[in-house]
Symmetry: C2
């Protein structure tokens, strides 16, 4: 195996110069750099992966920041990101932010130090300025920031279809449970579209927001218990995730309400769990696997200087199961 | 900011020598190495994270290989691993093997090149020899290999308790659905203990193995449909995961069987989904979060040369919900 000394000799430069090229440090003329690269190729010099990263200025790492990987939506999204990153020879650095802005910021800083090729941001507690200071290629999930490409489902159409379905099935008193609307997320459009559609149809509705924490089960229980206490005659629920829909289903069972006889339920996402539930949960399907693939492609296109779309909105699909 | 040149000057050595120390290449006397380290400290020389990895021979990366992150058990395990790795300043490299031995081997090779601090192996298609050739600290999940520490739940006691519960509730015709027993996993002990307990109690039972693919939903459907076709009078099912238990529940609903009136169901894992289901799934709980924490600690202890336990078996707990 050839060493850095062999490379230096072949290129007719000092080892220091080779090291500088490797470390991308100090002034090196383009001619010298090319000589060193050529010598490395000719000698099939194999620095280890870390040294190679320095050489290529690529780490073959893609960072993914999600609120919590144990949430089925993010687990299925990460699955797709990992699969497609692997096709490009990239590995996945996985970070849970737990919606903690400090942890999110610290993770972004770590990723910069590790020179990740790009960051897919699926957690959104940070201010827009924190993103602007990044030089890495970046893609956001479900958040629109000028100058940064995003992937999202057609949230607007999703919210509208959920409302239309419940109304068409005869529901006249609707509840909608959504994430916290203070988070600047495109998912909020589900709520606005649902409310607008109900309003235009003259159907009564109420909207309940969860806490900032995406995944607090006791919070879901509290909200749903309160909903049925104050509005026992609710006959249609649109939940912003299949998990919340499953919690509504659980409460209906507890309170002796027939689904879909007394009350109809529509979720969002179509995570696998929606079809495992009994009864199977009717839901608005986002194409999670395709969104993951596109997120990876958007990183690669930015790296390679290829053109790319800024707005990547995926059509939703109504999947009718047994809760409507 | 100080440069590699400043470090060389302060240490009284050439830049090549500093580079050698950084790259851990060529002969360097211990005295020179210490001089270079001291100069770096005094000058607060900050090589980037990748260069620092070379310096410390630590990457601050922990690799986790799972069959599929979208499986709730592995998603929750990864969540815990990420959380505890973060406490140690480590990031998580996540790999899905999809139970493909080639992909598993390739991932392990990649991790070596990236100089990960350690590998947590949650996927087990490889032969024991493939593990032995690794020099990195390694921890396995649910597999016992001489000389490698593992974490697992008390599978034996889990299988026994599931059988005892079903029998105590009056079940007299049991079915057990398990993973593929050709995989060399400690989870297989659930099956052996379940079968032994049923046998000792003189209760009839049948065991059905799933395919190698951990997560083929149509396979679950096929197995369960066949089970009820051949044995419509089964009155107790022990499934090796809560997901499979949810599928059994779905089939019972489809076939008009009352749960727990006509048939009782026990799962394994206690992933969050088990409590979201309606009725809530009775299950054998493995302490997933603690197992993740211990896996990370076992990597750190190996790195730091601290003593550690080889066999880390965690007590299970019976969580009774509505399916028994």
């Amino acid at each position: 195996m050839s060493t850095i000394n062999d490379v230096a000799e072949r290129a007719g430069v000092s080892v220091t110069t080779v090291s500088r090229v490797l470390n991308n440090r100090g002034y090196i003329s383009e001619k010298t750099r090319q000589n060193v690269y050529r010598a490395m190729q000719e000698l099939q010099y194999q620095p280890n992966e870390i040294a190679r990263s320095l050489l290529r200025k690529q780490s073959n790492l893609i960072g993914l920041i999600v609120p919590e990987i144990s949430h089925p939506f993010f687990a299925e999204f990460a699955n797709a990101v990992e699969f497609h990153a692997y096709q490009y020879g990239c590995k996945l650095l996985l970070c849970n932010s737990h919606r903690d802005p400090d942890k999110e910021r610290e993770y972004i800083e770590m990723m910069r130090r590790h020179r990740v090729d790009g960051i897919i941001m699926g957690s959104h507690t940070l201010e827009i300025e924190d993103y602007r200071n990044l030089n890495n290629p970046i893609v956001t999930l479900d958040r629109r920031i000028d100058g940064i490409p995003f992937v999202a489902s057609d949230n607007e159409r999703g919210g509208e279809r959920a409302a239309r379905l419940l109304i068409a099935k005869g529901c006249r008193k609707l509840a909608h449970i959504c994430g916290n609307l203070r988070l600047d997320m495109l998912a909020n459009r589900r709520t606005y579209a649902f409310e607008r559609t109900a309003q235009e149809s003259g159907v009564w509705f109420t909207t309940l927001q969860t806490d900032m924490n995406v995944f607090d089960q006791s919070e879901y229980d509290r909200i749903i218990a309160e909903l049925f206490e104050h509005h026992p005659d609710i006959d249609g629920v649109f939940a912003t995730s299949d998990i919340i829909a499953a919690f509504v289903l659980k409460w209906c069972r507890k309170l002796g309400k027939q689904v879909p006889g007394d009350i109809r339920i529509v979720g969002y996402d179509d995570v696998r769990m929606a079809s495992w539930a009994s009864p199977g949960i009717t839901t608005i399907r986002q194409p999670i696997a395709e969104m993951g693939r596109t997120a990876v492609e958007l990183i690669r296109k930015q790296m390679d200087g290829e053109p790319y779309e800024m707005e990547n909105v995926f059509p939703i699909e109504l999947v009718e199961r047994e809760t409507t």
